[in-house]
Amino acid sequence: MTEQIKVPTMAEYAAQGKQPEVLFFVGCAGSFDDRAKKITKAFVKLLNKANIDFAVLGTEEGCNGDPAKRAGNEFLFQMQAMTNIEVLNGYGIKRIVTTCPHCFNTLKNEYPELGGNYEVMHHTQFLKSLLKEGRLKVEGGKFKGKKITFHDPCYLGRANNEYEAPRELLEKLEMELVEMKRNKKRGMCCGAGGAQMFKEPEAGDQDVNVLRTEQALETSSEIIATGCPFCMVMMTDGVKAKNAEDNVQVMDVAEMIASAEDL
């Protein structure tokens, strides 16, 4: 862990008159949330290892606007979106990868109508393509044979029909994938979407993340894998609420690959 990670910014690239192969849109959670920052770093380590020519916007990046839009504030959403689009288009960005399904969905589906047209990938899709092209190798290592369950982030799965990319990566780790009863198209939300992350839940008899965690624990997996920083927070809290943190870990698929490679 002594090796310094390399994170070039778009500003640096532009100063040299170069274009990176792909822009890594880090997102607010990936930039500020302590747990999510680990996912960001794990993904960067993988990018470094595969010698990917990438850059981040750094301080020029702003919230993509998803929570504002889903809260009903279309004004704020569009202001965020247009500010980001101005920056992205100014740099001539063509391809974007994100470690957050919310950034992924918004950039991919909601920016085009506002003038932002990019090829947008979720990091599990990007890692899958690296594997396919032989630029990254993944072996099971310490995860081999362990039981794992995958929690589908709504904005990757149902919202964009991507169920296989994260599962294919887990398969490469030679783990035993045990599906929850509610998976893929019928996967259950962690409870964070639609700006719920930033407010108290309405009165009910249980928190959504606790119910979802119970479903994950039913698979008696050692690891709950996911591909979203918000699902990460919710499921981690859920595991704590069920006092299961000694036996069960919540991990992002990128962290698992990086960790299997001892990065």
């Binding site: 920052k37 004004f75 704020l76 500010t83 019928r186």
Partner: protein, 434 residues
């Protein structure tokens, strides 16, 4: 005198179809109260959806038991209705089983109808047991009390009675039984009538025949008053269903214009609007049914209250008040209320009510995680989420009535580009943190 049955039949037929047409025109008028939407895109995909999801029932079978039973009732409904054609011709012209001259093919047709009728009868009884004896959770949610609960059962009783009448009608038809051509099920029913004098059999046969066709006309007219309109509206509804990724929410163009103006340094903020420029809408988001789109209103009429959406909803699963099915039922109830208001007053007169608060509470709207589970679950492509979103837009953009914590998050986004109070200049600090 001998034409009296024919005349009575024609009167019943015209009255039955006429009254139904009248009510369907009301449905169309009410749907047109909604905002126009352009759905001329993705034509081939829309038709493919109609074939796969509506005709092919592809989403019904996600739940195998109810899906399988539903396919039997659906296929039975469509196929057995071919028999109605014969009944109508017989009724108008006073003939008896006019198609029986088709010979063995007629036997094949009637035989298939009889088998389907029996299967439908069994399926409908199983449906009734699931609703009333097993008490499957989704049929017993709070929005399913009173009329919605009775409605579900009345439909099942209608179908049971119609199928029994069809089989009795065939069983007591002496000449048909003697023909022994296609009476695969009814011959067993006929044995129950053995020993009954032919005159009595004839009376039973006539009674069953009349009750069967009158029952069909009554059922047809019942549709408008019940949740059962889906047998027709499911097809256009699936056609107009969402054809873009579920994660893509509608862009509010009126907002785009204003935001562009705000961000353009060269624009003169005091300039008079250009000639023919589209005016800003009277309001953002939706607080009543007239603010919703025609597709959303069609959604409301199409909903048959199966509750698969609510059964998959994470908020509902954890005891929150939100139920996507209730969103659709409320939208239809309010739309009907507005329709009746128009019937009475010639045009809509403000009744001091609206969809928001009087039907759908804010607590329900704010419990949604926008996870799309309800949209995915709907077997006929209804989108309750879009209504929730538009009502949130009204709350936030027209009333500034977001929950306090959300206002904090939104202020943060506005001021420092993240929902949390971190400085935008610190956005890359993670790079150097250990």
């Amino acid at each position: 005198m001998q034409y009296i049955p024919n005349i009575l039949f024609i009167i019943a037929l015209v009255a039955g179809i006429g009254y139904f047409t009248l009510n369907i025109r009301k449905v169309i008028r009410n749907i047109k109260l909604g905002q126009k939407v352009d759905a001329s895109d993705h034509t081939s995909e829309r038709w493919a959806n109609v074939f796969r999801i509506a005709l092919g029932q592809s989403k019904m079978t996600v739940r195998p038991i109810s899906g399988f039973l539903h396919i039997i009732v659906y296929v039975g409904f469509i196929i057995i209705n071919i028999e109605v054609l014969e009944i109508i011709i017989d009724g108008i012209f006073g003939t008896h089983r006019i198609f029986s001259s088709l010979g063995s093919f007629y036997g094949f047709l009637i035989g298939s109808f009889e088998i389907l009728a029996l299967l439908v009868l069994v399926s409908v009884i199983v449906f009734w047991i699931r609703r009333n004896i097993i008490k499957i959770r989704r049929f017993w949610k709070s929005e399913m009390k009173g009329w919605p609960k009775s409605d579900g059962n009345i439909i099942l009783y209608f179908e049971m009675v119609l199928m029994i009448l069809f089989l009795v009608m065939n069983a007591t038809d002496v000449s048909f039984q003697e023909m022994n051509n296609g009476n695969v099920v009814s011959k067993y029913v006929a044995s129950m009538f053995s020993g009954t004098p032919e005159g009595t059999l004839h009376i039973i046969e006539r009674a069953a025949w009349w009750l069967h066709i009158l029952g069909i006309l009554a059922f047809l007219n019942y549709l408008y008053f019940s949740k059962h309109l889906h047998i027709m509206l499911a097809f256009p509804n699936v056609y107009f269903g969402k054809v873009v990724p579920k994660g893509k929410f509608k862009n509010l163009e009126s907002v785009t214009n204003e935001v562009k103006m705000m961000m353009d340094p060269n624009i003169d903020p005091f300039a008079a609007p250009a000639e023919g420029a589209t005016e800003a809408p009277s309001k953002f988001g939706a607080s009543d049914v007239m603010d919703l789109s025609r597709i959303q209103l069609l959604n409301a009429y199409t909903c048959t209250e199966c509750g698969r959406c609510t059964d998959e909803c994470p908020a509902n699963n954890t005891g929150k008040k939100l139920s996507p099915r209730k969103i659709m039922m409320d939208t239809r109830d309010r739309l009907e209320e507005v329709g009746k208001n128009i019937d009475k007053n010639g045009e809509f007169k403000d009744d001091g009510k609206q969809l928001l608060d009087d039907y759908i509470t804010r607590e329900e709207l704010w419990a949604c995680t926008t996870c799309n589970a309800c949209v995915e679950a709907c077997p006929v492509s209804i989108d309750p989420l879009s209504i929730i979103m538009e009502m949130r837009q009204y709350l936030v953009m027209e009333q500034s009535a977001a929950p306090a914590e959300l206002n904090v998050a939104m202020t943060n986004i506005e001021n420092n580009g993240a929902p949390w109070p971190y400085n935008q200049m610190d956005r890359l600090n993670w790079k150097d943190e250990k």
